[in-house]
Symmetry: C2
Subunit: 403 residues, 2 copies
């Protein structure tokens, strides 16, 4: 074998193994990965949630591996399935997003997406391309191919049905419509989180019913958030956004619990698995400070999403602020009255979300004025010149007294 | 009150009581029946089954009662729901009938329908009027209004689901589509057999969801067939077709079991209920021959669907053949060989469906040649001149020997 053949074989093996939860059907997919025909790798995107975080990056990185082997990424903007909602069922039959909203959200998503994925090897479709003119005949044809019982086997449906929680008939359409996308674009592979396995399997069934070869499926593990416990998600506020500044990104990555370091390295970097195991072993033996591992992780990720210079600056800034307890360079300035009750001041300047929040910050010892801790929630602040008000570890305002 | 008011009140009361299984909501419907606004009374028709029998007549007669009170009948030709099939589920996603087939079957149905119902107070719609351009948006809107659990409460679905028999998702659309018909035509009332109650109730729900006042519902009892046991149906061959000849109709009505006489009078004639009770009591006491009651019944029904003269002739013909054992006038002639094995002869002439059937007829003593019973299944028939071959009580062929 030539070196190139050996390399491709190794790349395919890595694609199918690293950061992968399940592959259906592995042998078939491996053969096709190495075959001459460029495969069409489908990714469905919910345009109601255009904010991308590192959890999505796991998927984007995998798509890039497909592209490295010469395959094509096909993005589906789910402007129709977004109307139904999946899988919570809390808001069945949402309003149709306007074309402008879809366009805007899709563009926001894709701007972030193409930081990782090669735009030259990608196609983008909106579902409206085929669902705009989907007739009742088409619906009858599609729904005739699947039974109620099989659909209710989906775990969340099964739980809700057994608990007597309502499932609108529309919701049974969701997996069928997204499955039809695989027919429309002739997907060879569909990729998604482990929570999507059922839907991706419906895609296989429906493609077969429409006389196509069923797509292979590759599911990816779910990344935990910065809390190290729950799935990374915007609504849990434990996420790191792809669009965040180098400083924010670096700082948040330095804040993850040690237990998450391994997963973040495996899912978000190219560091070889053996090397990751060695690092973790060294940290466990007390030979390495976990903080140094997180620094390496953070530099790699910030470099990937911004650049090496930005990563270096973010590290320096972080060191200056946290190791040397210095102030950051770019503190926001706010005009304030010369005398203000402390609680009001915290709320006004946006350092506290509410008066209650302000009170808790003060009682928790998290409020400082020019480095001096303020502990009386009933105090007023009297300023004769500019001063820095700090709330918690990483938030400041430079107060400018006005007349 | 004037006489007219009293008459209308009595007619409404009769409409809501006689030959009625259930009325939802009775008080509301009665008020509207007597109100000034002409109501729209919906009847859904399956164009795959255009053959009408006396079972349908129960419904048509009830529609005529609505018309007598000034209300309008709205017939829906179910050319779209016919594609899905309800409720057996044996043949999900049938082919769409061609426009010609729908037209032909609908016309066949309506020709029979308008023997009873007043065409001047009726409107006819095909579902394609609104489903031809039904979009995926419309489907999503419609299916979002109903839950899977409520749909699976329908008795046949519940049974099939609990037995593990497949229910295609399409089948859940059936009740919703026919319910949408009630929205499209703004039905005030829907009428149907007791087996349609669930579907008619879905109509109420969906109308409400679309901001309309929910239709009232009137269900009718199911007529037993000439066997006196099972629902009258073409497939069970226990039916009397509306298009049958006066002789056939009269003869079949004379053949119903005595136990069915009461129901047939109540559901298919205007004879007052008290009078029917008196007749049945007299028959039970042995004071009246049930045969005479059936004659009255048969004459009334044949008169209604043909005319009094035809009924009189049918009665005379029946008497001649059955009471006096004479032959009917119109025996079909068949050319046959001069010598034929009896079994072949029965099959050839169409008197038996198969050789097995022929053998059973002979063994059962049901085969006669010119009135003489033939009991040997292995016999051959040798003819020198025309002769009448009889199978069972009411089927004959005049055999014409040919060279």
């Amino acid at each position: 074998m030539t070196n190139e053949v050996i390399d491709r074989e190794a790349a395919a093996e890595r694609l199918l193994s690293r950061s992968v939860a399940e592959v259906i059907v592995r042998d078939d997919l491996k053969k096709k990965l190495l075959g001459p025909r460029p495969l069409r790798i489908k990714l469905g995107v919910d345009p109601t949630r255009p904010d991308i975080h590192l959890g999505h990056l796991v998927c984007f990185r995998k798509l890039r591996e497909f592209q490295a082997l010469g395959h094509k990424v096909v993005v589906i903007i789910g402007d129709w399935t977004a109307r139904i909602g999946d899988p919570s069922g809390r808001s069945v039959q949402r309003q149709m997003m306007t074309a402008e909203e879809v366009e805007h959200n899709a563009q926001t998503y894709l701007d972030q997406f193409f930081k990782v994925v090669d735009t030259a090897q990608a196609e983008i479709f909106k579902q409206s391309t085929w669902f705009e003119d989907f007739s009742l005949t088409d619906v009858i044809s599609l729904t005739s191919k699947y039974t109620v019982a099989r659909m209710l086997e989906r775990e969340d449906f099964a739980i809700r049905y057994s608990q007597g929680s309502p499932i609108a008939i529309t919701e049974l359409l969701y997996p069928l419509l997204q499955a039809y996308d695989s027919v429309a674009i002739k997907a060879d592979v569909e990729i998604g989180g482990t929570d999507q396995t059922f839907n991706l399997l419906v895609g296989r069934d429906i493609q077969r019913d429409f006389g196509l070869e069923p797509q292979n499926i590759l599911t990816l593990p779910i990344l935990v958030g910065t809390d190290g416990v729950q799935k990374m998600s915007k609504s849990l506020d434990n996420y790191i956004g792809v669009n965040e500044s180098p400083n924010e990104m670096y700082g948040k990555l330095m804040s993850i619990p040690d237990s998450a370091i391994g997963d973040y390295f495996r899912l978000l970097t190219d560091v070889p698995l053996e090397e990751i195991d060695q690092m973790l072993a060294a940290a466990a033996a007390g030979e390495v400070n976990p903080r140094d591992l997180k620094d390496r992780l953070a530099v790699q990720i910030v470099t990937g999403l911004h650049d090496a210079g930005a990563a270096e600056e973010a590290r320096n800034e972080f060191d200056r602020v946290f190791r040397q307890h210095a102030l950051p360079d770019d503190i926001e300035e706010v005009d304030v009255a010369r005398e203000t009750p402390l609680i009001s001041l915290l709320v006004e300047t946006g350092l506290a979300r509410s008066r209650n929040d302000a009170r808790q910050l003060i009682n928790g010892g998290g409020v400082r004025l020019d480095g001096e801790k303020l502990i009386d929630p009933e105090a007023s602040v009297v300023l004769t010149e500019a001063a820095v008000l700090q709330a918690g570890k990483r938030r400041w305002r430079r107060l400018i007294p006005r007349d």
